[in-house]
Amino acid sequence: MKKFIAITLGILTAIGGFVDIGDLVANAETGARFKLSLAWVVLVGVLGIIVYAEMAGRVAAMSKRPVFDLVRERLGPGFGFANLAASFFINFLTLTAEIAGVAIAISLVSSVNYLLLLPVTGFLVWLVIWRMPFEWMERIFGLMGLALLVFAVTVWKIGPDWNHIFHQALHPAVPSKETPFTYAYFGIALFGAAMTPYEVFFFSSGGVEEKWTKSDLNLNRANVFVGFPLGAFLSLAIMLGATLVLAPRHISVDSLSQVALPTAFEVGKVGLAVLILGIFAATFGAALETAMSAGYIVAQFFGWTWGKFTKARHAARFHLVVLMSIVAGVLFGLSGVDPIKVTEYSIVLSAAALPLTYFPILVIANDRDYMGDEVNGPIVNGLATIYLIIILLIAVATIPLMIITKAGA
């Protein structure tokens, strides 16, 4: 019974924790602009994150070492450092976007300008990391994130013509007002939102922090195989809500408040309140994960003592990196950058940097010295290789597409 509860809680946490500001913005934006013609990307993306997150969890459980620790060892200090610099920069953009997302969620119920709330939000994020036990952090914000299921209620209340919906999703085409380049650019954004690298940094580091062993692998697989697809279901519900309510009115998504508009319009005040709670939880949880990922990757690369399970005075440099990243994220947010633009850049650049994260995991997951009899099987290797090729093509195409489309304008 105890094990069943642990698995259920883990799955629920994975569902709630799957969606972050990148998913909220990318899915609503593409739904409003491309309707369901990019829905297939969500499915491709979720299969990719399932393959690699399961692998990263298995590597953490078997080798007792997280991803970045192994990156330096396998790729050498030069390439490893380039990987660290790129991953840290993208993680920093994501952290800024998540902190801004929390502040915006609070501003939607208080009508206080979100810029004034940014320092308070940054402080709260740091305080939770400093004081709250690891498991509580995951559970509380993951479970609160389930409030986002109100997106599914919104779609149900609209009651769309499902035949038409499936036809649209199964016959993807570039809309007449768009070009193949913007279509590809937003496809990459959706893929990047689903496969954000910080998820793997946090997942593998968390596995080491919680001292996963071989006996935890089934729990890991249940979280990933059940929780992530249900998280993707949420992403599709966001896209569908925007397709049905915003697209017919020529509304493009430029702010987080617009993401909530279909729910407010269809479900009403209670739905809106639940949704804002869900946005708060999703962005707050992701802010915790990205802030800690900043500390994880730097400390693991340089071989410092790291983690929440270690006494703070023994992992002072890890906590300093976490704190400074939060402060820098708040300051960057206060500089007047558009949080939605920061989100768009973070997910698109995440897509460009994906090989840096996923290639080393694939290499290590095939190494019997680390993995023993838990090395990748032929099916996982086949899927992972296909995804690696996709990821490499995306990495090559991202920056040219960004220039050609003027970042999707």
Partner: protein, 152 residues
């Protein structure tokens, strides 16, 4: 000893961060480019106007609370004044573009005025009457759409 080469990655990072500002401005040296920017500006404004109309309708049905409506309507107003400011900062390349600028400016100013009325009303707590107050925005949306159609 070789010094680390930070110049290129640092410049790329700065360029990327600079792209995160709200309304980046680019030049328009030909009438075609200028009319393209006019069309994009009108499209952004139309999105903001339609957002405000839907928000007003949501508020009048008692489906949203005041702070949320205040934020979303404030953002709609900012979006229209923001794109107007950006468009105004682009120099028209010829006389025909001058006329285009004047026409779009008038449309945007009218829409911005109507959005201001909505924002003021919601901050005064007059949520029930929002839909009625938003009625002129339907005309603004039609005018913006017609303007865009005329450019094609």
């Amino acid at each position: 000893m070789r010094r680390p080469r930070w110049g290129v990655p640092a410049s790329v990072a700065v360029l990327l961060l600079a792209g995160c500002v709200s309304h980046p401005v680019g030049p328009a040296r030909t009438h075609g480019k200028y009319s393209g920017k006019a069309s994009t500006t009108a499209e952004s404004a139309l999105s903001a106007v339609e957002t405000a109309r839907l928000s007003a309708q949501t508020g009048s049905r008692d489906h949203a609370f005041g702070p949320y409506l205040s934020v979303i309507l404030g953002e709609s107003e900012d979006a229209v004044t923001g794109v107007q400011g950006t468009f105004d900062s682009i120099q028209p390349p010829d006389e025909k573009a001058d006329q285009l600028k004047q026409k779009l400016d008038d449309l945007l100013s009218t829409a911005a005025d109507h959005l201001t009325n909505l924002r003021v009303a919601v901050r005064r707590g007059e949520i029930k009457g929002l839909e009625q107050l938003a009625a002129p925005l339907a005309g603004d949306a039609k005018d913006l759409q017609r303007f865009m159609d005329g450019l094609q």
